[in-house]
Symmetry: C2
Subunit: 259 residues, 2 copies
């Protein structure tokens, strides 16, 4: 298959073992990539599912050790969830954006998390964690986690790679979940086309693209939920280095029509 | 570069000429692909920017021929836009979702379009159209447009390809635009993992992925606004065929916490 120079490849890193607290993700990813003949090069974007970052950073809670507050009990009835889970969600929440008291059986609770990302249940998740009562929390600071990984790869490989940590979220107005960037390093999350002209010579308006979210979604296509592909390598995408992490993707609340 | 069997390639179709009303997009894309040595095969996903579909379907309006209604004049002051543009936007709108009267200078007007997609300005857009007063409208029925393209490729190639028509939209809570699917053919827009088990044997919950939107975002990475790459081919993604088009991505308003 002949390809243009500008093609992008999205490649899964297979055979990554179950991640445990304090595991060295850089070493594990490089070994898994090497085992499958995949070389990681400067300019690649390495996309990590939030779940393995959370496991490596020991962001795991055993619900059996959680004592729900009175408010967690109240809320648990309003959204039909385990009060211990609600307690954990509240511990990650800075603001409740919306909940679905009309249909408590749907259990919808949309909150703003400490990192600023708005998502259901503050990203607290029970799937793909060993033990029926264990849940994972989002990393404490996903941009920091991404920086640490970028530094680790630089140490080992002597080249710069970009890191994106992604999570799967719902959206207003549209059905189905998509993946978004919750942490970034080495890549500008937003690409600003303002001031450039279109193919007719007219200035482009309002075109700041959320490229980190678009890469997150591209990588998400290979992170099938029932599989074990928590890391994906994106090759061939010409990103702008630098930036201030995924926090650039969080809209200023004063400028948000939907908060 | 060795690659796993499950890798995905995103390949731009370059050298597509300026599209005019009634142009045969199937013929034009096949010629452009062939010129650059790119073969389109069964199972590929062909992603089209809305703009060239709109041009081929003559969904173009010259603002010089538009007489704004009194309401368009009122609204034009509230969001600081040309009243003729407002008139065109209203002609594509079924419901105004939100506008920004506190900051009219930002010109934000979020509406539900006839196809059900919620977007700024009903997808009416001035960039990349010849002539300073010309704007494009979204296709009348993007799923139908996608079906027509899929049939056209089937006719010429004797294989099934999937078609996704995409548009660039803003989102609540997050800065930067992303691409979403507004029309689909031959691919299920949603992939339902419910009932499947995760790698620990636990049943996955609430995991219906909007794969058509994820493909739209992946393709969007190559459709740089100032370039002329209105078509992208995605190879290697194992999609489920069938489905009911991109309308499956529109959340039922009664089930939407944000309408």
């Amino acid at each position: 298959m002949p390809k243009s120079r500008r093609s992008i490849s999205i490649i899964p890193v297979t055979n990554i073992p179950e991640i445990k607290p304090d595991d060295d993700l850089v070493k594990i990813v490089l070994e898994a990539a090497s085992d499958s003949g995949l070389s990681i090069e400067g300019g690649d974007v390495l996309v990590f599912a939030q779940k393995i970052i959370s496991k490596a950073e020991n962001r795991i809670v055993d619900l059996n050790n959680v004592s729900p507050s009175p408010y967690a009990h109240t809320l648990s009835k309003e959204v039909s969830k385990d009060p211990r889970l609600i307690e954990v969600i509240l511990s990650e929440t800075t603001k409740i954006i919306k909940m679905d008291q009309r249909k408590p059986e749907k259990g919808r609770l949309i909150v703003e998390t400490r990192g600023g990302v708005i998502s259901a249940n503050a990203g607290v998740d029970a799937s793909n964690v060993s033990g029926g009562n264990m849940v994972t929390l989002l990393p404490l600071d996903s941009d920091k986690s991404a920086n640490k990984l970028a530094d680790g790869f630089k140490d080992k490989l002597r080249v710069d790679v970009a890191i994106i940590i992604i999570d799967t979220v719902g959206r207003p107005w549209r059905d189905g979940l998509v993946d978004i960037a919750i942490g970034c390093s080495g890549i500008k999350a937003l690409k600003d086309y303002r001031g450039e002209t279109d193919s007719k010579g007219f200035e482009l308006n309002a075109t700041v693209m959320a490229v980190a979210d678009e890469i997150a979604s591209a990588a998400g296509l290979l992170m099938e939920k029932a599989d074990s592909v928590p890391v994906v390598v994106v090759k061939g995408y010409k990103y702008e280095s630098g930036g201030r992490g995924a926090k650039e993707l969080i809209r200023n609340p004063e400028d948000d029509l939907f908060r």
